[in-house]
């Protein structure tokens, strides 16, 4: 993994040379728009997401329906905005769970030598499952709901964070001030909380941004397959799944939810790359 992480740095700095920080800025602006639209959905969306209007079914984009209407005459623009809520909520939940699990496992493996081998092998095993497949299996076992999708994806992505945290902790552990703290007889939990965790903040932030992006794509895939969040509210994935049948005559059913996914994920990738540029490259390299 060391080789991979160390080569990802030139890419990030290459990007900076190419775009300055404009790429990151662009990502941040798009993400801000997506988040604001989701938070203010009831005020931003011109219609209720589930409001039926059969006489207006499958209407192409127009001034009254910016993104057109679906097979039940529901406004795609309003539905896409409300769907953003589910997508952001799930992805945020996944980031929280995978970060908490990843930090616990990563710090334990990196700081306590005796735990390193067992935890690292467990992470290897977890990472042997393709993400969607593991998430699908977990959702199948736990039953489909908002909570289980978040939990399943959180567990799925935790090893990614754990690996980064472990790598960074291994480096931190050898630094003089940590050795000094150990020699001074500071309790372990205090060393971990005050000296290790604080210094892990940057690499965790960067990796969490990428997990955010992956979670968004994975949630869309699960919803599309019909094994994801089951709510009355639309998600981008379920909008694509139901719009499929009409895509010959009403391609806008496919285009807009898809673009919503692409732009949201892209904004996170740009942000993550920009952040990686900003944080200490020495730590990032050790992942």
């Amino acid at each position: 993994m060391t080789t991979m992480a160390s080569v990802s740095m030139p890419f990030a700095s290459g990007l900076r040379r190419l775009f300055g920080n404009r790429a990151m800025l662009f990502g941040a602006i798009i993400l801000a728009i997506v988040i604001l639209a989701a938070l203010l959905a009831p005020w931003v969306a011109p219609y209720a997401p589930n409001k039926l209007s059969i006489i207006n079914k499958l209407k192409p984009p127009s001034m009254t329906n910016f993104f057109g209407t679906d097979e039940f005459g529901r406004d795609i623009f309003s539905r896409a905005i409300f769907a953003g809520r589910i997508s952001l909520l799930v992805s945020l939940g996944v980031v929280v769970i995978s970060t908490v699990l990843g930090v616990i496992l990563g710090v334990a493996a990196g700081f306590f030598r005796s735990l390193d081998a067992p935890i690292s092998r467990l992470l290897d095993a977890m990472m042997s499952f393709p993400d969607i497949l593991l998430a699908i299996a977990l959702v199948a076992a736990l039953g489909p709901s908002l909570t289980t999708v978040i939990l399943a994806l959180g567990i799925t992505y935790a090893p990614r964070l754990a690996r980064i945290v472990r790598g960074s902790t291994l480096v931190l552990r050898e630094l003089p001030y940590i050795e000094a703290a150990v020699a001074m007889g500071l309790p372990t939990w205090q060393i971990l909380a005050r000296h290790v965790l604080l210094n892990l903040a940057s690499p965790i932030l960067v990796q969490a941004t990428f997990v955010f992006a992956s979670a968004m794509l994975a949630e869309a895939s699960l919803s599309f397959l019909g094994v994801g969040v089951s709510t009355d509210m639309p998600t981008w994935g379920t909008m694509l799944a139901s719009g499929r049948e009409y895509m010959n005559n009403a391609p806008w059913l496919m285009v807009f939810p898809g673009l919503a996914i692409v732009f949201s994920v892209l904004s996170l990738q740009l942000l993550g790359d920009g952040l990686r540029d900003l944080v200490d490259p020495r730590l990032a390299k050790e992942s």
Binding site: V7, F11, L18, R121, S128, A137, G258, L266
Partner: protein
């Protein structure tokens, strides 16, 4: 030779441990089901007698440790259990659906590498030019596109619109082989293009890393042609991270195949898993997870072994 044999043994040991953990994780996943898996599988109108019968059939009434022992023993003997809904052994169900998934993954990786290697190398060599900027931007966008969405667009344009390729299906065993492969073109392109993004980024980064190195400058100073410098001196040294990321991409391709097979109606392993999830056919989910993870571990092992061939300095 002794060095390689030693490295091989060490890696084999590591692989065995990870495989054992994979088996355990799969065993646990199916057992965390809240309530009785047998009751969940049979649905709400099942009688207690039906549930008890299925519990016995699945071995769920045995103590957990015994269940685990039987599970491991079964795997060692090549028995992954019985699919409840297909009424056939899981291994048979998987084998019957292996072909489309295998060729889909193979073609996707070939497409991804065929795009990524030349584009990534050229982008690094022409660093900072318009071409490089376009490549960097495109890889970023491609990495954000869900492969199933790209698949839907390809169906719309090239199957429904132009009629060049079938929109879905694969054909049965009686369909000529080449015609079956014809069904895989669009799905393989959808998966391959999306996955080429990551490999392109790594190829570019790895090449940039080595292009500034001393031996590349020396090679140029010796008067070696630019093509020889790039392909022989630089690329050979950039191969390790590139091979690593190609290995990793295969796992991502398998994950992508699960969704892509559904979009294109391909009767592959991914499709089997999705329908198994919808029917709560736990033995199938369990078996598919296990096989896919084992293949991934095996690919990682092969990638590690390739390191030794590519770079004799690597000590494992």
């Amino acid at each position: 030779m002794a060095r390689i044999a030693q490295a091989l043994l060490k890696r084999l040991g590591g692989m065995a441990i990870v495989l054992a953990l994979v088996v355990t994780v799969v065993f646990i996943i199916v057992r965390v089901t809240p309530g009785d898996p047998a009751a969940v599988m049979l649905g709400s109108d099942a009688t207690p007698a039906d549930i008890a019968q299925l519990r016995e059939k699945m071995g769920l009434d045995a103590p957990l440790l015994l269940q685990y022992g039987q599970f491991v023993l079964g795997i060692v003997q090549g028995d992954l259990g019985q699919s409840i809904f297909l009424n056939q052994p899981v291994t048979t169900a998987l084998a019957a659906r292996a072909e489309p998934t295998f060729f889909l993954t193979l073609f996707s990786i070939l497409i991804a590498v065929a795009i990524a290697l030349p584009v990534g190398i050229l982008s690094a060599v022409k660093r900072g030019t318009i071409f490089d900027q376009i490549v960097v931007t495109l890889t970023m966008v491609a990495a954000s596109v869900p492969s199933f969405w790209l698949g839907l667009i390809l169906i719309q344009v090239f199957a429904v619109g132009q009629g060049w390729f079938p929109a879905s299906g694969y054909g049965g065993p009686e369909t000529p082989f080449l015609e079956r492969l014809h069904h895989l073109v669009l799905p393989a392109v959808a998966l391959g293009v999306v996955n080429s993004a990551l490999i392109t980024r790594f190829t570019r980064a790895a090449m940039l890393d080595v292009l500034g190195d001393d031996y590349v400058r020396t090679a140029r100073a010796k008067g070696a042609g630019e093509g020889r410098v790039i392909l022989k001196h630089a690329l050979k040294n950039a191969m390790i991270p590139i091979i690593t990321v190609i290995g990793l991409s295969i796992a991502m391709l398998v994950a992508g195949a699960v969704v892509t097979e559904t979009v294109f109606g391909l009767p592959g392993v991914g499709n089997l898993v999705v329908s198994a999830v919808l029917r709560r056919d736990y033995p199938v989910i369990q078996g598919a997870l296990l096989v896919v993870a084992a293949i991934y571990v095996l690919i990682n092992f092969i990638v590690d072994m390739l390191y030794i061939l590519v770079d004799p300095r690597v000590r494992l």
